[in-house]
């Protein structure tokens, strides 16, 4: 490779610079939002905030976290994420294992049955009408049940399980283990890596979900954090009411309230909603990438 020419060196310099700038561009807007969330609201309105707060304050977060509906929404979000992810793992793990059995009669029919919904779907209204009949509207289970099964995840799990040597199953059988014992004591421990990947992937997806609330929930008690964020963005009254209630509760003095602007609250809510993802992200990046790569390998 002609890698010592000056043209190549210029290309390399340009490459590193460009990628460096893109990386900064990826991070900057988030840091800016964090800065606004930590900055005095009235001061932010003067402009010039970059990635650090000029007049640091925790008042924005305090107003948010003292609001009982926000606290409740965070519980709902956590419950949704845990419940849906756990159910998803159970359903997809069992299905993935079952589908590794090549001798299964009707296996391709089952696969067809599972893959068809990816191409043909009822759409929003038929789904809405069904949930209405199933009493899933305004019901916490609407966060857990429908999202539990994903064909992609099952295939990824199955692909991974193919790499488990069948000799392990056979020797367990020879030792007298029943099928369920094999699943529980042999397959499950060996599948931990892929289950961790799927779990993290699902968890992020469920944590970020707000359209389920939008479509199927009207009760304020079942709002999630993401949904609250959407309300704060789309409806200016939401924040105004929140500030008003904080004043009425007398929890923060009026002087501090003046400095809490809707923009600052909105930024703080973004941070509150994204903090779990951000905190967990650097350690789990490698799991996610592995999942994508396994999923993209066709057998």
């Amino acid at each position: 490779m002609r890698e010592n020419g000056s043209a190549y060196r210029i290309f390399v310099a340009f490459n590193y610079t460009f990628i460096g700038l893109l990386s900064i561009a990826a991070l900057y807007p988030y840091l800016h939002t964090l800065a606004v969330a930590l900055n005095d609201g009235t001061d932010s309105m003067l402009g010039g905030i970059t990635v650090y707060p000029r007049i640091p304050t925790l008042e924005n977060f305090a107003t948010l976290l003292n609001d009982s509906s926000i606290i409740r929404a965070s519980f709902v979000s956590v419950a949704q994420t845990l419940g849906a992810t756990f159910l998803g793992l159970v359903v997809q793990f069992t299905a993935g294992y079952a589908l590794t059995k090549r001798q299964l009669v009707g296996r391709s029919a089952l696969l067809m049955y599972l893959i068809l919904p990816m191409f043909i779907s009822g759409g929003l209204i038929p789904t809405y009408l069904l949930y209405s009949k199933l009493h899933l509207l305004n019901n916490f289970m609407v966060y857990v049940l429908p999202g539990a099964f994903s064909f992609f995840n099952v295939i990824i799990i199955r692909t991974y399980m193919y790499t488990i040597p069948s000799s392990l199953e056979e020797s367990a059988k020879i030792d007298g283990a029943g099928e369920m014992t094999i699943l529980w004591k042999v397959i499950l421990p060996l599948s931990k890596p892929i289950l961790a990947t799927i779990a993290l992937w699902s968890a992020v997806g469920h944590w970020n979900d707000w359209t389920t609330t939008l479509y199927f929930v009207t009760s304020g008690d079942l709002h999630t954090l993401q949904f609250k964020l959407m309300l704060m963005i789309k409806e200016s009254e939401t924040i105004a009411r929140m500030i008003q209630e904080a004043i009425e509760r007398g929890e923060t003095n009026i002087d501090a309230i003046v400095h809490v602007t809707p923009e600052a609250i909105r930024a703080a809510q973004v941070i509150v909603t994204t903090i779990p993802i951000i905190l967990v992200y650097p350690f789990l990046q490698k799991h996610f990438i592995k999942g994508v790569l396994i999923g993209s390998v066709k057998e």
């Binding site: 490779m1 002609r2 043209a7 190549y8 390399v12 590193y16 990628i19 460096g20 893109l22 990386s23 561009a25 990826a26 807007p29 988030y30 800016h32 010039g48 905030i49 069992t94 299905a95 079952a98 059995k101 001798q103 009669v105 049955y113 599972l114 068809l116 919904p117 191409f119 779907s121 009822g122 759409g123 929003l124 209204i125 038929p126 789904t127 009408l129 069904l130 049940l145 539990a148 099964f149 099952v154 099928e179 369920m180 992020v204 970020n208 707000w210 993401q226 959407m230 963005i233 923009e263 909105r266 930024a267 973004v270 650097p282 990046q285 996610f288 990438i289 994508v292 790569l293 993209s296």
Partner: protein, 306 residues
């Protein structure tokens, strides 16, 4: 089927009954949530009345299907969807490929890992968080306006980006690029990394510089992956990013797409038949587009999804 073969099947089924048992949760869930809604599509052909239900409501045939193509609000939404999707494919599809090619040339491991970590980050944020971040970024006293003032002088007027209808579509593209370009490189990087180095050597010996090598070795080698991704994109031409667009809509910007119309007309306004009809047609078109794109791809490049 001879008696012997069918009794073999039955024996196998009995041996595997625990396997079928393991499958039941998944089969049940898929049945309830993916297949049961399907008969609801009948609502597209009826003047649905909640009290009369599915069977009691009067049949109107293609009335609402026709309305989709006649009502100006509907046709406008369809056109908007198509327009945004085509722009998205043109702008956002090549971006991860180009970035992957560039990332592939980075030798410094630490720099590569660090930049990738940063570039993947926006992918994990929800679309509504991205909108929230955008609101702070585009704010009248936010960094983008600050930058404008810095470039064009302190007298320039600060721009209200989010209430400017002309900014709506460029913004959609910008935010989509910001969120998904980095993550999109993963698949392409894997494909690029699997190219046989001997092909590059052969090209070099034939006098090809880096650019020619990229064009004649790398790109053709990642063609299968690229075509599969492209087919998916084209199949979704009449769908759009509901979360992003709904999140960005505000009183100053009057742009609807198919998915926002389905939601607003259906769930909010209760126009079930019209909304279902629109969703139904959208689904059929998506299916036909995917099949069609796959056929064309196979003819032109002999790679496709199936």
């Amino acid at each position: 089927m001879s008696r012997r073969r069918s009794s073999e099947y039955w024996r196998q089924i009995k041996k595997d009954k625990h396997v079928y048992l393991l499958m039941t949760p998944a089969l049940l869930l898929v049945f309830v949530f993916s297949y049961l809604p399907l008969p609801g599509l009948i609502v597209a052909f009826k003047d649905y009345n909640i009290f009369k239900g599915f069977f009691g409501s009067p049949w109107v045939g293609l009335k609402y299907i026709r309305e989709i193509f006649e009502l100006p609000a509907m046709t406008q939404a369809i056109w908007n969807t198509l327009f945004i999707s085509l722009l998205s494919v043109a702008v956002c599809f090549p971006a991860p490929i180009l970035l992957a090619l560039m990332l592939n040339e980075v030798r410094q491991k630490l720099f590569k890992r660090l930049s990738q970590t940063l570039l993947y980050l926006p992918h994990f944020l929800s679309w509504i968080s991205v909108v929230g971040i955008a609101y702070a970024f585009y704010a009248v006293y936010g960094p983008l306006n600050d930058l404008l003032l810095w470039i064009f002088g302190a007298d320039t007027e600060r721009e209200l980006f989010l209430s400017n209808p002309h900014f709506f579509i460029p913004n959609i593209l910008l935010l989509s690029l910001w969120k998904d370009t980095g993550w999109g490189t993963i698949i392409f990087l894997a494909a690029i990394a699997s190219v046989d180095p001997q092909l590059y050597e052969a090209a070099y010996l034939d006098g090809a510089g880096k650019l020619k090598q990229a064009m004649h070795v790398t790109l053709p080698s990642i063609l299968p992956v690229t075509m599969i991704m492209l087919i998916f994109q084209l199949g979704h031409l009449f769908q759009s990013n509901f979360e992003l667009i709904y999140g960005l809509q505000n009183p100053f910007v009057d742009m609807e797409v198919i998915s926002t119309v389905i939601f607003k007309q259906g769930v909010q306004q209760g126009a079930y038949a019209l909304s279902t009809a629109l969703g139904f047609v959208q689904g059929i078109v998506a299916l036909l587009l995917t099949i069609g794109a796959n056929i064309v791809s196979k003819k032109l490049t002999s790679s496709g999804i199936w």
